[in-house]
Amino acid sequence: MVKKDVFLYPKEWVTEEDETLADSVRDWADKEVMPNRQEFDEDYEDKLVGPAMKKLFVEIGLQKMVWPEKYGGEGLNTPAVSSMLVRVLEEISRADSGIGFIFANTFCSLLPIILEPDINDELCSELAPLFCKSNDIKTVSLILPDFGDPEIRTDDDFYGLTAQVTAELRDDGVILNGRNVRPINSGSTANMFGVISSAGDGDLLYVLVPENTSGIKRGKTFFKTGLNSDKNADLSFDKIKLPKKYVVWKGSDMKVIKEILSWKALCDSALCVGSIMDVYETAKRWGTDRVIHYDQTLKENPLVAAVYADVSKDIVSSRLLTHNLARILAKPEIYGESWNDDVFSTARSISLTVMNASCEAINKAMETMASEGYAREGNIEKHWRDVKSIKNMIGGEIPAKMDVTRYFFECKNI
């Protein structure tokens, strides 16, 4: 097994507690996922994923940690949680990115109510028990703006993208509407939905929607490229009605969306890093055991070694960049708030760089393994599918690129 610091990272920024937690997540992964992870992909009956997740979410207690202490959580609800988050997601993703993806998006969806200094006391006191006291897995499904569809809506709500849900604010509450709504994660299973919706007057809303709200319909879990531990499905919101307290945020300045996306960029990057570190382990084992030309160890072949260099470079950079982003988010007093344009653009930039480098690294590692790179049993192709899926869930490469340029080149219309 690869030592956790073969690829250097700024250890000064990671606390001992962070490392201890990461170690226990690594133990969990080795015990609960690694032995049969090839089967996680087709675990349609949830015989493997659910029990493993439960150990991580409930027993190790990830889902409780990020809630404020006063509401029963463990108080890791400050920006400084970022480095812990990275180490933990690295370790989860090493074994199964899909599980990490569910946790990451759940965390990002809850951010606007749990993160210091802007704690939403009303919702925390209502919702914290659900996550902190339950013995079941609790997740939130994130619903972001998407490309428009002429048969539904094509409004320009978020820099050219269209909110998938519309909101009507009334005195006594809010009414949400949407069909063919595509969540980022957990459409089939989530206990709550974090929904960006459009009020139609230029304002956007971020609404937390409990699963039992009447009028929500979930589609069939669909087959997808990767992240298969996450069960996703399209949704429809048919005039669902919620009390006003669930409207976490309303505004035209995109603040909450940018905050969520900055943190999501961190989580996505960490997931990618975890994946490629495992790919590195597998490729190294293969390159060491495999013999070509009768007596040459595969990894000693210069052409293969050149490919390994590309893989290594991508991991070195991706890991460092991800930990830097964690630091940037951890220290708003030095680097600014997560929703500030410079931090938001930097976060989007880093996540794009890390995702692309990760896709490339896995792609190349596969190429040194011949058909084994393509077989499920080779344990590489799953990462290849998972990381590509994480990249897809950024919501289109071009919109993400525009988020980068908008700040650095001070553009107004892109």
């Binding site: 087959f223 490229t225 009768y294 058909s371 077989a375 590509k388 899926s389 990249k391 950024i394």
Partner: protein, 424 residues
Amino acid sequence: MRTIDDFTVPKEYEAPIEKLLKKIVRSLVDKEIMPYRRTFDEEWRHNPRIESFYQKLFVDIGAQRFLWPAEYGGWNVGGSNWIGTAAYVVMEEIARADTGLAVAFGCGIGWSNFMIAFLPMRRNERLLEEISNLYTKSDKPVIACMAMTEPQGGSDIENTEIEHGRTIQTTAELDGNEWVINGHKLWPTNSAEADLYGVICTTKRGSTDDRDLAVIMVPADKPGVKRGEPYHKAGMAADLNTDIWFDNVRVPDYYRACGPGEDMVFFKSTLDNIGVLGSISYCVGAMKNVYEILKEYVSKKTYHGRPLKENDAIAGVLSDITAKIEASHLMARQFARMIDRPDQYGSYFSSEIRAKSRATKLFVCERCNEVCSEAMDILGIHGYDRDHDIEKQWRDVKMIQLWMGGKQICEMETARWFYECETL
């Protein structure tokens, strides 16, 4: 409206029946495969729809009679000077729907008959007659499989120029008038369902003498042939790969394809000519399919309130994709032409054709991976669902790059010839 038929076809290279072939195959796959291909991934252990497709294509349309010499009941297309192009076109059309099916088709009817019948070496009439009857007289699909890769050695077996068969572990011993075959092969296309194996073996382990490499035909129903369960892969579920073990399998001595020395030529040609022609046709077929799906998506979905394709940045990606398809297609068509016309381009056994075939595979596979990946990225959060089939092509085509020794052997073969390297 522009379609996949608007990519440039070198008119001078068109095969006489090319348009007709395209039409027949396209209409078959549009009906039999396109509506169902999304389910193939879950049917990787057994897929009844594929069997029905084979029946239609191989038997009803008659593809398995296509190549054979007329004197053995075939249509003699294998002997024409447009076989390369015709085969290319058919495989590209099938690959548009499913590259796994295309390779199963390409390997299933392509290599064995074509090679034995038409290579300009000693014609093994007795074997030819037996095999041709198998194909031309059967009313069931006949599936062949070329078994080369072994558990160790990377691409050593395919690396004939350097290894000369030295690392082959599967042995053939002559016992009276029978070959006795022992060994373990894995991964070949059709391995889990073939009726006939062409087994790459050695008559002398560790030898670097080309004459010790043997290609021996082994019917799947011979005692001692054992095969495993299909592998579970990233994609390309329609091609069933598995392990095959040969445990003292006995076949008549004339089941050796061509004989000492010539078997090596046969084997190389399988890789350099047919193998590459197939690989690039699958890539181009998949890319053209990606183009048509993508075009529909970017024409419908909106960004800034207008169709995606009207956004300059997205159009930029679309055009890079297009240029890559155009280039790959032209390069592929040129290669098919070079197979058709040895009078113009030299024997297809030459080191030149080998090098160029590998350069072509190297280049086209790489572009194909890029095209599928870029297209998937355009789709955003819909890129990873089965509904758009682009993710399927992305998963499927990676395999093409990895097989036949993968990317590295393409690089070595190319460099060896163009730079006169001696020790790669």
